[in-house]
C-alpha cells in the first residue's frame, strides 16, 4: 500500500510571528522555517504504517519553491521513501494546492493520503477536505487514531463532544490531529540516508491547471497588545467591570 503525505513549509512554531510594518503580510524575512507540526504527525503516522508492514512506500510531496526541499529532506530523514517537490514560487490558495495534489494522486495512485488537518500559518483547514471532494475519496478528518483493516481504514476523529470512529473504504484521505502520535526525531544515520533518497522536482506549470489566485490578501494585523492591568478597589467593582467593560459575564 502506497501512502502519500503532503507537507508544508511554515514558520517554526517557536518563532514569535511578526507582521510587516505596512500590514501587507506576515514578516517571513530572516525567520526560522520548519515542517508544519500537523504534517510532521502525518509523516510519523505514515512511517509507522510502513514499520508495521501495512504500507509499502511512503511518498512525501510539497508545493513551493526550492526551499521546501529542506522540509522534504526532513520527511525523508524521518522515514519517507521518496519525495516530490512541485515547484512554484506562487502563493497558492488551498483549492489550487488540492488540485495539484489531485494530479499527484492520479499519478501515484496511493491507497491513503495523510495530511495535517491545517497548517499553523494560514489555519485554513481545507486542503484535505477539498482533495477528498476532488478525488471522490472518503475522508476522515481530525484523526487521533488510524487503523488500516483490510480494505478499510478506521479513523477515530476528535469531535466537539468526544470521539467518533468511522470506517472508510480505501483509498481514503485522513487529516491528522495533535494527539494522533508523537513524531520522532531523525537519527543521524537516517539524516545521512535521506540525502541519497530520490527527490523529484516537477514544475507546477506542467500540470496544466489554472493557478491564478482567487483570493487576495487585504491586510494582516497583529493581535491587540495586552493592556497593563489595574488594581480594583472591591469585588463589586470587579464584577461591574467584567460585566460592562470586558463584557465577559452578564
Amino acid at each position: 500500500m502506497k501512502v502519500l503525505v503532503p507537507i508544508k513549509r511554515v514558520i517554526d512554531y517557536n518563532v514569535k510571528v511578526r507582521v510587516k510594518a505596512d500590514n501587507s503580510n506576515v514578516d517571513l524575512a530572516n525567520v526560522k522555517m520548519a515542517i508544519n507540526p500537523f504534517c510532521e504527525i502525518a509523516v510519523e503516522e505514515a512511517v509507522r504504517l510502513k514499520e508495521a508492514g501495512t504500507a509499502t512506500e511512503v511518498i512525501a510531496v510539497s508545493i513551493g519553491d526550492k526551499s521546501c526541499q529542506e522540509q522534504l529532506r526532513t520527511a525523508l530523514a524521518l522515514g519517507a521513501d521518496r519525495a516530490i517537490q512541485i515547484d512554484t514560487d506562487q502563493n497558492l490558495d488551498s483549492l489550487h494546492v488540492a488540485k495539484l495534489l489531485q494530479k499527484v494522486v492520479e499519478e501515484e495512485q496511493p491507497q491513503l493520503v495523510i495530511l495535517g488537518k491545517q497548517s499553523i500559518d494560514s489555519d485554513n483547514n481545507q486542503t484535505g477536505q477539498m482533495l477528498a471532494a476532488l478525488t471522490g475519496m472518503a475522508q476522515g478528518t481530525f484523526a487521533s487514531a488510524v487503523n488500516v483493516d483490510g480494505e478499510k481504514v478506521n479513523v477515530t476523529r476528535e469531535v466537539d463532544g468526544g470521539l467518533q470512529t468511522v470506517a472508510l473504504n480505501l483509498p481514503a484521505i485522513v487529516t491528522t490531529d495533535l494527539r494522533l502520535n508523537e513524531p520522532r526525531y531523525a537519527s543521524l544515520p537516517n539524516i545521512m540516508k535521506a540525502k541519497r533518497k530520490p527527490l523529484a522536482v516537477k514544475p507546477a506549470a506542467d500540470f496544466g491547471l489554472d493557478l491564478t489566485a482567487r483570493t487576495t490578501l487585504l491586510k494582516v494585523t497583529p493581535p491587540a497588545e495586552r493592556q497593563a492591568g489595574i488594581v480594583v478597589e472591591s469585588i463589586d467593582e470587579l464584577v461591574e467591570k467584567l460585566k460592562n467593560e470586558a463584557k465577559v459575564i452578564s
Partner: protein
C-alpha cells in the same frame, strides 16, 4: 514561554559567520554533508534534550546516586535518556562511517551537544568520557584492542572512564602507585586504588572500560614509568559476550557539590589476584597516550564551562526581561508602574558581563574544536601542522579561561535573579555548582598555568607562542581598517605588546632568578594571556558584526550585531584593563605570595 536553552542565533553566528563550518564541506571527509545535515543534527540533539533530559534535570540534581554496598543506583529515568542519545547516533557522530559514525565535523557536533549539556549536563558526561576513551584507543591501541573495545563503546553498549587519580596522587601523577605485573599470557595484573573516577560504576551499560594508569613492576619512578591499560569491569568470553568479574571493586561514592548525576567513584583494582589489564601501546608511554585523551577532555571541560555560562546568561536574560521590580532613580512617582529589572543599568551590566564571558568563551572553545579538526583534516600537511601547533599551545587557555569565567558568569546570573537565583526553583544555582568543577578536574588552574609558561611557551623555540601572536596580529590589521573598530584594534595591539614584553621578562626571570619565585605568579600569566585571547576573539566577532551591519541587515540581525559590538566594547573597557595589573605583578616578579610564610597566616 520558558527561557531558551541557548541563543540559537548566536550558535548560528558562531558556526556559519565567525567560523566557516559550511566551508568544511569542501573537505573530502565531509563531502556528504551540507548545511542542512548540520542543522538537522542540531535539531535532533535539541529534540532529545527537550524530551529526555530537560524534564529530569532537576531530579538528577536532587537525587544523587546511591551505593547500597553492592550496587550503584541512579534514578531510573537516566538510562532511557542516555539510550535515546545512543540510538540517535549523536554519541558517535564524529566517528568514521566504518565505525558507525556519520563523519560529522567536530565543531557541529559540539554545537549540537550544547543542548544536551544544558538540559542534562552531567548525565551526558558518561557519553563524553566514553567518546574520549574510544578516541584514545583508536589512536594508540593495537588493532585487537580496538576491535574488542571501541565498537561496543561507540554503540553505547559499553562505557568508558579515565582512571588516573589516586588518593596520594592528584595533580602530581608522577607519584602514582597502582601496580601492573606482566602475566604469562602477555596481559597484566593490575592492583591499586583510584579515586574520583567519573562514571567508575553504574548500571547504564553492560560493561565499563577503564583506562588505567599504572606502573609496571620495575619501571622507573616518576612520569617516565607510567603505562596505560585497558581494565574492563567484566572480562569478555571468546565470543565477545560478558564474562567473569574482573575484580574492579567499588569502594565508595563521593558526594559532590554539583554534577551529581555522574558517579564519582573510589575504585579498588585487583584486591585478590589482580585485575586483568591489557597494555595500550608500549610500556612506560602511558602518560603520553593519556594526554591524547586529556587534551581532548580539556577542550570538553572548557566547552562545558562556556556552555553552562551561556545557559545561565539566557536564563537570567529572560528573567530580567520579565521581572518587574523598582523604578529608575529618575522616577519618584510611587503610583507609576514598576519597571522590569532589565531597565536598571546595573542589571544590564551583569547581563553584559555574562554575555562578554559566555560568548567570548564559546568562541574560544569552538575555535579550539575547529583546530582539533584542522590538525587532522585540513587540506595541506602544512595547515595540519600549523593547527596542531596552535592547539597544543592554546589548550591550557581553552581549558582554563571558560572554567574560571564560566562560573563567574553563573554567579552574575544568580545575582540577576536576586534571592530567586539562590534557590533551586531556578536552575542558575545548579549551573554554578555544576560549572565549578571545571577549574579543578583535568588539571587545576594552577597546573595549567605552569604548563603554559614553563612548557608551552618555551617549547620548540616558542613556535606555538609566535603562531598565536601572529594570528592575533592578522586580526589587528583587519580591524584597523574598519570604522568603529580602530579603537579596539589599537587596544589589542597594546595588549599584545604588553603580553610580549611580559613574556620576555618572565622567561628571563625563569633563567636568572630562583625558579620557584619566577613561577610564583604563573596564574597571573595565564589570566593575562587568557584575557588577551578573549579580547582577540571578541575583535574577530566585532569584524563579522561590523561587516554585516554595513549590509543593512534585517532589524533583528541589526540588534544582534549591535549586541556583539556592545559586548566587545564592554570587554575592552571593563575587562582588558586588568592586563595592566597582571603585567605589573609579573614584570616585577612580585614576591608577595612567594614570601608569605605558613606561620604568618
Amino acid at each position: 514561554m520558558a527561557a531558551a536553552m541557548i541563543n540559537e542565533r548566536d550558535l548560528e553566528f558562531m558556526l556559519y559567520e565567525l567560523f566557516d563550518s559550511e566551508g568544511l564541506i569542501g573537505r573530502e571527509r565531509y563531502q556528504d554533508h551540507d548545511r542542512q545535515t548540520f542543522n538537522e543534527v542540531i535539531n535532533t540533539a535539541k529534540a532529545i534534550a527537550e524530551k529526555h533530559f530537560l524534564p529530569i534535570r532537576q531530579k538528577l540534581d536532587t537525587h544523587q546516586p546511591t551505593f547500597d554496598g553492592k550496587k550503584v543506583h541512579l534514578i531510573p529515568e537516566l538510562k532511557p535518556a542516555i539510550a535515546a542519545v545512543n540510538a540517535s547516533g549523536i554519541g558517535s557522530a564524529t566517528a568514521d562511517y566504518e565505525l558507525g559514525g556519520m563523519q560529522l565535523p567536530p565543531i557541529v557536533a559540539s554545537a549540537a551537544a550544547t543542548y544536551l549539556t544544558i538540559a542534562g549536563g552531567v548525565g551526558m558526561g558518561y557519553n563524553m568520557l566514553t567518546t574520549a576513551n574510544a578516541n584514545l584507543l583508536q589512536a594508540h591501541a593495537s588493532k585487537e584492542l580496538i576491535d574488542t573495545w571501541v565498537k561496543p563503546m561507540l554503540d553505547g553498549r559499553f562505557m568508558g572512564t579515565m582512571a588516573m587519580t589516586e588518593p596520594g596522587s592528584g595533580s602530581g601523577l608522577g607519584d602514582l602507585s597502582t601496580k601492573a605485573v606482566k602475566a604469562s599470557d602477555g596481559s597484566y595484573r593490575v592492583s591499586g586504588s583510584k579515586i574520583f573516577i567519573s562514571g567508575g560504576d553504574h548500571d547504564l551499560s553492560e560493561n565499563i572500560v577503564h583506562l588505567v594508569l599504572a606502573r609496571v613492576q620495575g619501571a622507573p619512578k616518576g612520569v617516565k614509568g607510567i603505562s596505560l591499560f585497558v581494565v574492563p569491569k567484566f572480562l569478555l568470553n571468546d565470543d565477545g559476550s560478558i564474562g567473569a568479574d574482573n575484580e574492579v571493586a567499588l569502594a565508595g561514592l563521593f558526594h559532590k557539590m554539583g554534577g551529581k548525576a555522574q558517579t564519582s567513584t573510589a575504585l579498588s583494582f585487583g584486591e585478590k589476584s589482580g585485575s586483568v589489564g591489557y597494555l595500550v601501546g608500549e610500556e612506560n608511554q602511558g602518560l603520553k597516550y593519556m594526554f591524547h585523551m586529556m587534551n581532548e577532555a580539556r577542550i570538553m571541560v572548557g566547552t562545558s564551562g562556556a556552555v553552562l555560562a551561556n545557559a545561565g546568561f539566557q536564563y537570567s536574560l529572560d528573567y530580567a526581561k520579565n521581572r518587574p521590580q523598582g523604578r529608575l532613580p529618575s522616577c519618584k512617582d510611587p503610583l507609576s508602574p514598576m519597571v522590569n529589572i532589565i531597565e536598571h543599568a546595573d542589571v544590564r551590566r551583569m547581563l553584559l558581563a555574562q554575555k562578554a564571558y559566555a560568548e567570548g568563551a564559546m568562541a574560544l572553545v569552538l575555535y579550539g574544536t575547529q583546530l582539533s579538526d584542522d590538525e587532522k583534516t585540513a587540506p595541506s600537511q602544512e595547515q595540519r601542522e600549523y593547527a596542531h601547533t596552535l592547539l597544543d599551545f592554546l589548550t591550557p587557555i581553552i581549558k582554563t579561561w571558560p572554567s574560571e569565567y564560566g562560573p563567574k558568569a553563573n554567579s552574575y546570573a544568580i545575582q540577576v535573579l536576586g534571592g530567586h537565583g539562590y534557590i533551586n526553583e531556578h536552575p542558575v544555582e545548579m549551573f554554578y555548582r555544576d560549572n565549578r568543577l571545571n577549574a579543578i578536574h583535568e588539571g587545576t588552574t594552577g597546573i595549567q598555568s605552569l604548563d603554559l609558561i614553563a612548557r608551552k611557551v618555551p617549547m620548540n623555540n616558542m613556535e606555538g607562542y609566535l603562531a598565536t601572536i601572529s594570528e592575533m596580529n592578522k586580526t589587528i590589521v583587519i580591524a584597523k581598517e574598519i570604522e568603529g573598530l580602530n579603537e579596539f584594534s589599537s587596544e589589542l595591539k597594546n595588549a599584545v605588546n604588553t603580553l610580549n614584553s611580559t613574556t620576555e621578562s618572565v622567561l628571563k626571570a625563569m633563567s636568572t632568578k630562583n625558579i620557584d619565585l619566577a613561577l610564583a605568579n604563573s596564574v597571573s600569566y595565564l589570566s593575562m594571556f587568557g584575557h588577551v585571547i578573549i579580547a582577540w576573539l571578541w575583535l574577530k566577532q566585532g569584524i563579522v558584526a561590523s561587516n554585516a551591519l554595513a549590509e543593512q541587515p534585517h532589524q533583528d540581525d541589526k540588534h544582534f550585531y549591535q549586541g556583539k559590538l556592545q559586548a566587545l566594547q564592554y570587554f575592552y573597557r571593563i575587562e582588558l584593563p586588568q592586563v595592566a595589573v597582571w603585567q605589573k605583578v609579573l614584570v616585577n616578579t612580585d614576591s608577595t605570595s612567594f614570601d608569605m610564610q605558613a606561620e604568618w597566616f
